[in-house]
């Protein structure tokens, strides 16, 4: 299942092995490119990545959470809540840099709360974050009177969506940096490497001197931070803070991680593959629009494509779930 195969002797073989896991995504991209002349062009890809920044950030966090054998169902609701609060405090005249800072702190705090209750209460994070989801959703409606709050600060809107740096959109940079940092954390830091053990066998990890509880709380805090970042990008993109603005986000993020070959019950997950999973989902949503498929059939097509992609990917990487 998760046995890391010994690396093949021949470079070609190794190359193949490294590419094959992405057969699924590649297949989907080919499919859309062939079936729509509008899909395969750089601008569209750039837009695709920029627009999926929110999903990507959340999916990265979700990868760590799921790696630990935990889950966070509150992300979608919290993104909306934070976006709403962001819009409101900016509306109340708080300069945007401060507002952004407040949101990042608040998000981290919420994530940490999830972690602390899960760990100290020793109850499933499924329940804790389920509760958090309901609470966040409720609050986002209560705060706004169920009407979205417009964001007027142009500099904010520009900086976090349209602005480019070295020719690439800022959201893309933020995603890239988050990805790089997360990779570094997982592969090169003590805390990060310990996560695999914690997820695969908490008892053994504890006996190996890994501070299991602290690690879990940290990861939930990181998740919270990324959710906040996602909320900021989403708010800038939508130009508003709207309650229940992203009902699809949570499931999409979890799906991205699982499509990326992670085990829903911990111990196995990969950021790179999550990235692929998220890209696959984004490509699906984007490609569908361009392809003029009957709106009812779209669901079926989506399902079948995911299946095909995953099966290809599994066969290719020889992994048995």
């Amino acid at each position: 299942m998760s046995a890391a195969q010994p690396s093949p002797r021949f470079p070609i073989a190794r190359l193949l092995r490294d590419i094959l896991p992405y057969a699924g995504l590649i297949a989907v991209l080919l499919f859309f490119s062939l079936s729509s002349d509008f899909f395969f062009n750089l601008r569209n890809f750039e837009r695709l990545v920029t627009d999926s920044a929110t999903l990507m950030l959340v999916a990265f966090g979700m990868t760590l959470v799921i790696l630990l054998g935990e889950i966070d169902l509150s992300v979608g609701a919290v993104v909306s809540l934070l976006a709403v609060i962001l819009a409101q405090i900016m509306g109340a005249g708080l300069p945007w840099p401060l507002a952004v800072l407040v949101i990042l702190l608040l998000g981290t705090a919420i994530g940490m709360a999830n972690g602390i209750i899960t760990v100290l209460g020793d109850i499933p994070s499924f329940i804790v974050t389920l509760g958090m989801m309901a609470i966040a959703t409720g609050l986002s409606f209560v705060f706004t009177g169920a009407i979205s709050v417009a964001i007027l600060s142009e500099p904010f809107l520009v900086l976090f969506y349209d602005a480019r740096f070295l020719g690439l959109p800022v959201p893309l940079w933020i995603t890239a940096v988050a990805f790089a940092v997360a990779i570094f954390y997982l592969t090169r830091t003590v805390a990060g490497r310990q996560l695999y053990a914690v997820g695969a066998n908490p008892a053994a990890a504890r006996l190996s001197g890994v501070p299991v509880r602290r690690r879990k709380i940290t990861v939930f805090a990181i998740m919270g931070f990324l959710v906040a970042a996602a909320a900021i990008l989403s708010a800038a993109r939508l130009g508003s803070g709207a309650p229940a603005s992203v009902p699809a986000l949570t499931l999409d993020a979890i799906a991205a991680v699982i499509i990326g070959g992670a085990s829903l019950f911990g111990g196995r997950a990969s950021l790179v593959r999550t990235l692929m999973g998220a890209a696959l989902i984004a490509a699906l949503n984007n490609g569908m629009v361009l392809m003029n498929i009957n709106i009812d059939a779209q669901y079926i097509v989506k399902g079948v494509i995911i299946l095909v992609a995953v099966v290809l990917e599994r066969l290719a990487s020889g992994a048995r779930p």
Partner: protein, 314 residues
């Protein structure tokens, strides 16, 4: 750590649920009205059946995201069959649709080795697509009082048929789980799939059976759904999967498998039902309800956990 300990542990959840019910009874006269309390029984019928099935799936170490969409699809097909005058044949047809999707899930998981999360996500999409295509987004009306009476509206021993369906399904699944080989194999499978295979248990067949059974039960759910309201819609039961998983987990079923029980799941269902009913009757608005429910659910599970003490999660 023997049975007595386990029973004792169960009282944690009972206690917590009783606390909630008690509180609501004190606050709201309308809530403590007997006919309302009886009403809760039928109001949780659909959730209850779905949660019972989901408990099986989770105990086996799997997950099923398709139940809501499958129930909807089954509901639509049944309604169309009734409208087209198939009469009693509509029932087996609906069951087959549900079981069919369940079987699909099972086959994908066992033979193509796709994780159940994805397999059932796929059939979720397919089922939803099918339902939408069949209805074209319209509300399907049908006219079959016998059907509605049989699955929902009919009165029997002072309660509605829907409630008795829940009772029947819950009892059967409890029996399957706690009193048959099928059940103990399910626990074994969820506890440690590898060992279960080494012990020569028919893990593949077991998984397929569980998913198919769940699908068939979603057929029944679909029928109760349309029997209650008298029409069918493509989105009739969307989101059910989520509440079902929640109820099971609130009941202490361990995601990942091997630990949990039918009575406890039913307590989880009862809690959700009571909260929905009580808060609505007290005319708490939807969003405030969410906040309260969120907090209470976590609170209840904390109490349960605390009473059960350390290592009780097996």
């Amino acid at each position: 750590m023997t049975l007595r300990r386990a029973n004792l542990a169960d009282y944690g959840l009972v206690l917590a649920v009783i606390l909630v019910i008690g509180a609501l009874m004190l606050i709201s006269p309308a809530f403590r009205d007997p006919s309302n309390l009886i009403g809760i029984g039928r109001q949780v019928a659909i959730l209850g059946i779905a949660a019972a099935a989901m408990t099986f799936v989770i105990l086996a170490g799997e997950i099923d995201l398709s139940v809501g969409a499958v129930a909807s699809a089954a509901a639509v097909v049944t309604a169309l069959a009734l409208a087209a005058g198939y009469g009693a044949w509509a029932i087996p047809i609906g069951l087959l649709v549900g079981a069919g999707f369940g079987l699909l899930n099972g086959l994908l998981v066992v033979y193509i080795a796709v994780p159940s999360f994805i397999a059932t996500l796929v059939s979720f999409f397919i089922a939803q697509g099918v339902a939408l295509t069949l209805t074209g987004g319209q509300t399907i009306l049908f006219d079959a009082d016998w059907f509605r009476a049989l699955f929902a509206t009919g009165d029997f021993l002072g309660s509605r048929a829907a409630f008795w369906w829940l009772v029947a399904v819950a009892l059967v699944l409890w029996w399957l789980l706690a009193r048959t080989r099928f059940g103990s194999n399910t626990y074994a499978l969820g506890g440690d799939a590898e060992s279960a295979a080494m012990l020569g248990l028919p893990v593949g067949r077991l998984r397929i059976a569980i998913f198919t059974m769940t699908g068939a039960l979603m057929g029944i759910v679909g029928m109760i759904l349309i029997a209650r309201i008298g029409n069918a819609r493509a989105d009739g039961a969307i989101g059910l999967e989520f509440d079902a998983i929640a109820a099971a987990v609130i009941g202490g079923t361990r995601l990942g498998g091997g630990y949990g029980s039918m009575p406890r799941t039913m307590l989880g269902v009862l809690l959700i039902g009571v909260l929905n009913n009580g808060l609505a009757i007290m005319n708490v608005d939807f969003n405030t309800q969410q906040v309260i429910k969120g907090a209470l659910v976590v609170g209840v599970v904390l109490i349960d956990r605390w009473v059960r003490g350390k290592g009780a999660m097996g």
